[in-house]
């Protein structure tokens, strides 16, 4: 949809989530929220405080029972409800995989489309601040692998709100992985309720030399890299798929046919991940357009470390994207162009 600049406020990613939840709950009495900490004073980094204030009976605190509560959400959805389950760290969603994969993803199919389980699962990806091995994973590849689950990863406040409102209108289970590092970022968000087109990737930047597909937080790093690339004479095209299951393959294929080069930047490991899937898809469907090998960028092949020096090496950033993109385009990277300071406005704790 087109937005008139003058009419649209700028709000934060977390405020956009909160607003989406409240609007959805006001519009549909079957929408309810459940999760650990959804009614506490911090309200999942502020995203459930307003909903709890306004619709308290429909914001349900749960015991630490991630697996059963996912089943509860499914069972209630089979009987008309639209639950939103919240996990303050997506790492805890590993405890829910039986219900998500054995039940939710297959429900509509195995019962021949006669009933549906429209559950929405919000999981938040943590990054940095020494959260370490079990609190800063990005578990998207799991939900991209199995058919029957919609997977969304919004990178802007607009999409953060749009994903929730859209997911709450879908028939099938939807996982929304939000990124904690984006929570304070701001952007234009219409006040009204709106949907995103889940069949369409978001074009972030148009360019002709290289296609950069970026996942969630990596869209921001890709944008910073693109500014430096421009100074180096490389015009980057950035695609934010935002919906990864099902994936808008055509948008990526079209772009690669135009640029002839592909880099995929993920917040997770490369192996068997989103970047591998997209690389494989392009190898299969647009190999003849490639002028250079596909480049996959992700975190290093080890669990996330705690120490800040190790974290710095572990996570990919705009510098790495810049250097690798220059390499793919056959140019020597002038690293002075990416010497801008690290953004560090987070004071912890998580």
């Amino acid at each position: 949809m087109s937005i008139k600049k003058s009419n649209v406020r700028e709000i934060s990613y977390s405020a956009a989530i909160s607003e989406a939840l409240c609007q959805a709950m006001a519009a549909d009495k079957n929408v309810y929220i459940l999760g650990i900490g959804v009614t506490d004073y911090k309200g999942i980094f502020g995203t459930t405080i307003e909903a709890n204030k306004r619709f308290g009976r429909r914001v349900i605190e749960i015991p630490a029972s991630e697996n059963a509560v996912t089943g509860v959400a499914i069972g209630s959805a089979a009987f008309g409800k639209r639950p939103v389950v919240v996990h303050a760290r997506n790492d805890f969603m590993f405890l829910t995989l039986d219900q998500m994969i054995n039940t939710a993803s297959k429900w509509k199919y195995m019962y021949n489309g006669k009933t549906r389980v429209p559950i929405v699962i919000r999981g938040i990806i943590g990054k940095g601040w020494g959260q370490g091995p079990t609190h800063s994973q990005s578990i998207q590849s799991v939900f991209m692998h199995f058919p029957g689950i919609n997977l969304m990863m919004p990178s802007t406040p607009y999409d953060a709100k749009g994903c929730i409102l859209t997911a709450l209108k879908l028939d099938s289970p939807t996982v929304i992985l939000e990124h904690r590092s984006l929570y304070d970022s701001t952007g234009r968000v219409p006040e009204n309720m709106y949907q995103i087109d889940i069949k369409k990737a978001r074009s972030v930047l148009q360019g002709g030399d290289i296609t950069i597909v970026a996942v969630s937080y990596m869209v921001r790093e890709a944008m910073r890299a693109a500014m430096a690339l421009k100074k180096q004479g490389i015009s980057a095209e950035i695609i934010d798929p935002r919906v990864f299951n099902p994936l808008d393959e055509d948008a990526i294929i079209r772009s690669v046919r135009k640029t002839g080069r592909l880099m995929v930047c993920d917040t997770s490991w490369v192996s068997c991940g989103v970047s591998s899937e997209i690389a494989g898809m392009i190898a299969e469907k647009a190999y003849d357009s490639l002028k250079a090998p596909v480049k996959r960028i992700g975190v290093k092949d080890c669990p996330a470390p705690v120490s800040r020096t190790l974290e710095t090496i572990f996570y990919p950033d705009h510098r790495l994207i810049f250097r690798e993109a220059c390499g793919l385009c056959g140019k020597k990277a002038d690293m002075d162009l990416v010497n801008d300071p690290v953004i560090d406005n987070f004071n912890g704790p998580y």
Binding site: I60, V72, S76, A77, D98, T103, Y109, M110, Y111
Partner: protein, 320 residues
């Protein structure tokens, strides 16, 4: 509580239908027309029949892989079930669920073979009923192994904390596949351990449909009035192998003598005796009920055999 004639006859009819369809399907299973794992409930019919007879159509039932008894007891469509196990398009799920996921949304009955996972779904249905102020309950059928899974403990705790209208029905047949109960759980009876967790808990003879029905009726009435969840352990015995049509007494995990002891307490024979003793039915009526059930089963099998197969155009529908 002594049950009335109409209830006794209804229970017997349900059990007779379940017994005949399963015996008949087991008999023709070697023909390889049904190519899907089938878990027969033969010997365990009284539990689902007794509990479901105390439920309303709008109540929810969640069950396990040993699903036929709960499916038919809840009023699931027989033709749809048989065609489903045959893998035909006319099956209740168009050949996608087979026996182990047998479900009929028209009667609010769902099943799947991941032991404890659907116990949580029953709690979800109960939560929906409670939020909507409906006077419905959710019943979860599961075997004795399901309570060994973490999700069961989570579900029980959730149901108790939120005081949900759920009836947990543990069909204790003493075996998880081929592993006896004493290798998996402490000796203290299941229902006593559950009572220790704080849930209203009782044990009933799972081969006595009249008794299951009267106990279930009592607890279901309480649940509808707001008692919160109830756990009912129904003790029973499976006649056939874990999965498939055969008897498996030649294998060391169980004893022929146990089977001989349990078959004397066959749920159908038990109900026949009861009906004759109470003069609820004579031998003629009992024969007619069985003939009628067998007739329905044969017709369903004929229909399933003639029914069309699903094909290419069916494969990718309803994924998202």
């Amino acid at each position: 509580m002594k049950i009335q004639k109409k209830d006794a006859i209804a229970l017997y009819k349900k059990m007779s239908l379940i017994r005949h369809v399963e015996e008949t399907l087991a008999g023709i299973y070697p023909l390889k027309e049904m190519r899907t794992p089938v878990h027969f409930s033969i010997g365990q019919e009284a539990i689902a029949s007794g509990v479901c007879h105390a439920l309303k159509n709008s109540d929810a039932v969640f069950a396990s892989h040993r699903s036929h008894a709960a499916y038919l007891s809840k009023g699931g469509d027989l033709d749809g079930m048989v065609a489903e196990i045959f893998g035909k398009r006319t099956g209740v799920a168009g050949g996608r669920s087979g026996s182990a996921h047998l479900s009929d949304n028209k009667v609010n009955m769902f099943s799947a073979p991941i032991l404890g996972s659907y116990v949580a779904l029953a709690c979800g249905a109960a939560l929906a009923f409670k939020m909507d102020k409906k006077n419905n309950i959710a019943a979860a059928f599961f075997g004795d192994a399901a309570i060994e899974e973490g999700v069961f403990a989570e579900s029980l705790n959730f149901a108790l904390t939120k005081k949900l209208p759920v009836l947990f029905i543990c069909e204790n047949n003493f075996f998880s596949t081929h592993i006896p109960l004493n290798l998996r759980q402490p000796a203290r009876p299941i229902y006593k351990r559950m009572a220790g967790a704080g849930v209203i808990s009782a044990r009933v003879d799972g081969n006595d449909a009249a008794r299951v029905f009267s106990e279930a009726s009592k607890y279901i009435a309480g649940i509808r009035k707001g008692s919160g969840p109830v756990f009912l352990e129904c003790v029973t015995y499976r006649y056939r192998e874990h999965v498939g049509p055969n008897f498996d007494f030649e294998n060391p995990y169980r004893k022929r003598a146990d089977f001989d002891r349990w078959i004397k307490r066959c749920p159908l024979a038990c109900m026949e005796k009861f009906m004759l003793r109470e003069r609820y039915a004579g031998a003629d009526l009992i024969r007619r009920i069985n003939e009628e059930a067998l007739g329905k089963v044969r017709r369903s099998i004929e229909l399933a055999r003639k029914a069309p197969w699903p094909g290419h155009k069916d494969l990718l529908k309803d994924v998202y």
